[in-house]
């Protein structure tokens, strides 16, 4: 089984979010980048398929050279090879087109992508890859078993979960539940050393237009100070929620 894990290179959750060039660009100054958390759950599940079922695992990112440390980290965690599509990731649709091209080229059986990235939160790349490659698609995937070409997946739905059966080729939009946080792996020294020897192939982008364009960013208005209500005066809280906030 050939698995492709899509890795988004995103600012760490604790990063300060600022914009530059007249609020048109994300300011990467002083920002630490990590593997997108939803992708990391998928990568860890892929490691399980590698170790238990002999799967070959390739990781891929669409982006400039600055994203390579993130791919190297994925290699240090245990992926066999990495691909970087050398172009600016401009919008979800164009990224999905680039990735679909890689999927077709490498004839992958299973594509694992996070349900959304924590930077742009588009939530569209996995589904679009499935649509563009005519593969089956399970989003919000919190469990996955593969047996030959048959797959059984669990999908989180609003208010519960459902079990689905499907077949390879398959794309999943993964999230926590594929593995638990305690299963995530920190690369060890041996993994880091080995990652240096593993292939990281840079490929040229295919032609793909951006269907949406970021025009500008805005930050939310600074929050006013919290209004504290005494624990002895909860009538006041009810009053504020009803008359001021108008939410009850």
């Amino acid at each position: 089984m050939k698995i492709l894990v899509c890795i988004s290179h995103v600012p760490d959750t604790t990063s300060k979010i600022n914009f530059s060039e007249g609020d048109t660009k994300f300011d990467t100054n002083g920002v630490q980048f990590v593997i997108n958390p939803n992708d990391e759950f998928g990568l860890t599940r892929a490691m399980w398929f590698k170790e238990k079922q002999g799967a070959q695992v390739t990781v891929v990112n669409v982006g400039g050279a600055e994203t390579e440390p993130t791919l190297r980290k994925a290699l240090a965690i245990g992926a066999d090879a990495a691909i970087r599509v050398n172009t600016v990731a401009s919008d979800g649709f164009s990224v999905a087109k680039q990735l679909a091209h890689v999927v077709k080229d490498g004839a992958y059986d299973l594509v694992i992508a996070g349900r959304e990235s924590i930077d742009y939160n588009g939530g569209m790349v996995p589904g679009m890859i499935a649509g563009l490659t005519n593969a089956n698609f399970v989003n919000n995937c919190i469990g996955l078993e593969i047996d030959g070409t048959a797959a059984k997946a669990i999908r989180e739905i609003d208010g519960g979960k459902e079990t689905v059966s499907t077949t390879l080729p398959l794309v999943i939009g993964g999230q926590k539940g594929l593995v638990e946080e305690s299963d995530l792996r920190i690369p060890n020294m041996r993994g880091i050393m080995m990652a240096r020897q593993k292939p990281l192939t840079v490929v040229d982008p295919t032609e793909a237009s951006a269907e949406t364009t970021s025009i500008k960013f805005e930050k939310p208005a600074p929050k006013g100070a919290v209004k504290l209500v005494s624990a002895d005066n909860l009538d006041e809280l009810v009053n504020l929620l009803h008359n001021e906030a108008k939410v009850i």
Binding site: P11, F93, N121, G127, V164
Partner: protein, 326 residues
């Protein structure tokens, strides 16, 4: 009378559950009406296996396409996307509006590929302009907004839950049966495990959430009672679901379910940045915590510094009295 094709109606997918509309259906219909007014056109809604679609006429819908199809009895992202695509083609729609439910977020990317349409998700306002077509959406996990321009001829907008609200706009909506051709889905639903008697976090206007400050799963009775009084959904912090005190499906935060409720009440949750990232889209936040230094107070609108075991039961009594007066 001009044929509807010329109108290029705004198409809205109005979601249902067991034959009845979800609240978000009426919100996305209200949103579609606002876009249609900007474009000088009408609104067509597509419903799938809905028993009575007449409510849509109260929210600005001019025409309803009712699909009843046994193949679509269980949700299928491909099947539903095919139905919506064919409705969009029939109506020559240039703008398609969907919600931010798990199902809509599942089908929208497939629909976007099918129609070669640009798709903007998590949109929180009516378009600022329709030429060029720009929308405001949340990004960076609610730490920023992005003004995004959709460049394609056909556009898909995913409206963030509880962001636009319901806007009544009464008219005589015409209704017709619509029979799209649906191919067999490669993904088959084998089993659904879902509590049907509870408000879901996704649909709830109010969410009551609790954390490790509650000390143990046996203390959740008061959280559920508070939620009952308010008609709210219950949720929990990550440590609580990791400890197995509450089911994973209640976990809200960056790696859990996103919350965009009108009111979010956090009890005994310190407010780690990963938790805040998941709930920041909620409009009004109330924090109840013994620790006045808990970081959540900085993100809250209202706060009570006090012991949850004293504050919550009293709050339940006060709210019961308030509800009785209403």
């Amino acid at each position: 009378m001009t044929k509807s094709k010329v109108f290029m109606s705004v198409l809205v997918y109005t979601e249902s559950e067991q034959g009845a509309f979800k609240k978000t259906a009426l919100e996305v219909a209200s949103y579609a009406k606002a876009v249609a007014d900007q474009l000088g056109t009408t609104v067509t809604a597509i419903t799938i296996n809905v028993d009575d679609a007449s409510a849509l006429g109260n929210y600005g819908v001019d025409k309803i396409l009712n699909v009843s199809n046994a193949q679509l009895q269980s949700f299928s992202a491909n099947g539903y996307a095919e139905a919506i695509k064919q409705a969009a083609e029939k109506e020559a729609s240039k703008v398609i509006v969907v919600s931010s439910s798990a199902d809509s977020k599942y089908l929208a990317p497939l629909l976007a590929v099918g129609l070669n349409a640009g798709y903007a998700s998590n949109v929180i306002e009516a378009p600022a302009s329709t030429s060029p077509f720009t929308v405001k959406r949340t990004a960076f996990t609610n730490k920023a907004f992005e003004i995004s321009q959709i460049n394609t001829d056909v556009k898909i907008i995913g409206v963030s839950n509880n962001s636009f609200g319901l806007i009544e706009n009464s008219r005589n909506a015409s209704a017709e049966e619509f029979s799209p051709s649906i191919s067999d889905s490669g993904v088959k639903v084998e089993a659904v495990d879902k509590a049907t008697d509870k408000v879901t976090i996704a649909d709830a206007e109010i969410v009551v959430s609790a954390g490790r400050g509650l000390k143990g799963p046996e203390n959740w009775g008061m959280v559920e009672e508070l939620a009952d009084v308010l008609g709210a959904a219950t949720a929990c912090s990550k440590p609580v679901s990791d400890l197995g005190w509450r089911p994973h499906s209640e976990h809200v935060g960056q790696t859990g379910k996103p919350v965009a409720s009108n009111l979010y009440i956090a009890i005994g949750i310190s407010g780690a940045i990963q938790h805040l990232a998941g709930i920041n889209a909620s409009k009004v936040k109330v924090v109840i915590n013994t620790d006045a230094e808990a970081p959540f107070f900085k993100a809250a609108d209202y706060g009570v510094v006090g012991d949850a075991f004293e504050v919550v039961p009293q709050l339940i009594d006060k709210l019961k009295a308030f509800k009785a007066q209403q």
